[in-house]
Symmetry: C2
Subunit: 219 residues, 2 copies
């Protein structure tokens, strides 16, 4: 039995449906998504194993999830730093950044590399690929295609994060992923999951994430 | 050492500050507040001890927190029912109610009493006071004054919930409360708490609530 996944178009449609007929606001969904990510980090590397976390945020929705996660990680006792080179002008993202500034969470300009941050993303992918530090990606590892996984060759083709958090449902790229896999986003109704042909995983207790194996069953 | 509390005016000012300079949206704060309440319920009565929970929501902000809590309780495996006799016309509250309807969480018209629901609150307070079921209140037990606690006489004067969840900080009425006391709302910065002269409690792990004793220390 293969893990059930949600393609790019279906994932976008689900998000739209959650925010229209589902009546969720983007603030609410992003808070819950970022909370899931923070809990996955806690499972993957509890603060007793190291408090320093670099949260790398792109300009899109997953970047917003990262800003939320960084705030929760701060409250859990981590010392997060945020790398957020292309800041969104969107009001929500600006507010999420302000919430971090009020907690004195540092925003850093360099990733693991030195040099100008003019076109940072290739250098970031290079650094992600080469670092010995454990990397956790959200939804899609940087440079990976949501359907087809890592690029066939060149930059990112050997990038394999140690852990992945799939929000609401795994994306098709998980077929190519080898590492610890968490699913988060405990707000999808069974009927919505059925409509989009994926499974709501078996969360435990009050957890907002669950670690799953290669067929999607709870580990 | 007495527990540090936040009076009615200060609590309102803190809420306003969180949403202005603090840059939080009401959606975000209500989601986090309701999540705290749901986690307190889980600690107070895990689903293994009984899955049926009646969530009684007034028309104000704590009612909104209750709607959020009911959703999380559903996802934790409880069978919540919601008593929400005076529905707010506010868009956020309507959306929170819709999210529950989509999960088929029932809205019930009767509390523990029978008869017309025309002026339900006195009857609700009567029922809360008389029931043998354990009651958990949020911020202020129904009928209690936020500063002075239970009414001196008459309806509500002998109402003592088994548990209380104080959101962001305990209110002065906790001096009159005897029961299990949880504090939730893990989003207040230490500098904000200092400004309002209360303590951020010592949360553990990823918890959004902490149980505290009579002086506010973690139990």
């Amino acid at each position: 039995m293969a893990i059930k996944t949600l393609g790019a178009k279906a994932a976008a449609a689900l998000d739209l449906e959650l925010m229209s007929t589902g009546a969720f606001s983007i603030d609410q969904l992003m808070e819950l998504a970022g909370l899931s990510v923070s809990q996955a980090v806690y499972r993957f590397q509890p603060p007793s194993q190291g408090r320093r976390v670099l949260v790398a945020c792109g300009p899109g929705n997953n970047g917003g999830d990262g800003l939320v996660a960084a705030r929760h990680l701060h409250h859990y006792g981590y010392s997060p730093a945020v790398f957020y080179p292309k800041r969104s002008k969107n009001d929500l993202y600006q507010r999420l950044a302000k919430q971090l500034e009020d907690l004195e969470v540092p925003f850093v300009d360099d990733f693991f590399f030195s040099g100008e941050v003019r076109e940072p993303f290739p250098a970031v992918i290079q650094a992600l690929q080469e670092t010995k530090l454990p990397v956790m990606s959200v939804d899609a590892p940087s440079s990976w295609d949501i359907e087809n996984g890592p690029p066939q060759s060149g930059l990112g083709s050997s990038f394999m994060p140690a852990a992945l958090v799939s929000l609401t449902a795994p994306k098709p790229l998980v077929q190519h992923f080898k590492g610890r896999h968490f699913v988060g986003g405990r707000f999808v109704s069974p009927s919505m999951a059925k409509k989009y042909n994926f499974e709501v995983p078996e969360y435990e207790g009050i957890d907002q994430v669950v670690e799953v194996g290669s067929t999607g069953q709870k580990l």
